[in-house]
């Protein structure tokens, strides 16, 4: 029973792993397109992306910073 519990716990924890919940940098080709940015103004887009990231507590969807490639 305990083994089963730990196996299920491990499966549950791995379900929350970074690779499953986060868009990886090498998967951001379509996010990097201009039409995906929040605003056509690059400087403003960076700010809006930052606010969006904090508000949604998310990472990876925005395209305004570094072309959405996840570098730096």
């Amino acid at each position: 029973m305990r083994t089963l519990f730990f196996v299920l716990l491990l499966l549950f924890i791995s379900g929350c792993s970074d690779t499953l919940t986060r868009v990886m940098p090498y998967e951001k080709e379509y996010f990097a397109q201009d039409k995906m940015s929040l605003t056509p103004i690059a400087a403003r887009g960076e700010q809006e992306g930052h606010v969006y990231l904090i508000r949604e507590a998310s990472a990876g969807g925005e395209s305004s910073f570094q072309g959405g490639c996840g570098c730096r």
Partner: protein, 165 residues
């Protein structure tokens, strides 16, 4: 019970750990960008110091560092050093179009990784990612993000060390 948990934890850490400095490079055999019928394997590069660069034409950081790589390869043209690019563009033509602007003489060895095998294997936390690989196929240095002129200077000193100069 504790033993089982420890073994499972150790196994999961070992299985999901990204390759680091000192580890063996990930073996690959990928088609060339300019000639899809030809392939290049990691074994064929054995005995050379290699800078493996994982990039895409849509990545602004990759665009910034590419001219620096062209200059670096030209500088080391007669040495046992090779820069190998692996593009993950969904269309190989996008990579070709970009390289046609910055590397007209095709100094850089360009591969095409349609399935994104290398970034997945290396578990790249950022794009671009570069891996300096020694003559024995071991990872000597990992660079996440684009390299600027300063970074290239530091990279050169590592290349000299690996070349035994």
């Amino acid at each position: 019970m504790k033993k089982i948990i420890s073994i499972v934890l150790l196994l999961s850490v070992a299985l999901f750990a990204a390759p680091r400095e000192g580890d063996k490079q990930v073996a690959f055999n990928l088609p060339k960008l300019y000639n899809a019928n030809a392939t290049l394997s990691s074994e064929a590069l054995h005995g050379k110091v290699v800078l493996l660069n994982l990039w895409a034409s849509w990545c602004s950081g990759c665009q910034e560092e590419m001219p620096l790589f062209v200059q670096l390869q030209q500088k080391y043209a007669k040495k046992n050093f090779e820069i190998v690019l692996s593009s993950i563009d969904s269309l190989p033509q996008s990579a070709k179009d970009f390289l046609a602007q910055v590397d007209k003489q095709k100094n850089l060895t360009a591969l095409y990784d349609a399935q994104k095998v290398l970034p997945k294997s290396y578990r790249c936390p950022g794009m671009p990612s570069s891996f300096l690989i020694d003559k024995n196929g071991k990872i000597a240095a990992v660079y996440i993000g684009s390299l600027d002129a300063d970074g290239i200077q530091k990279l050169q000193s590592k290349i000299h060390t690996l070349l035994g100069e």
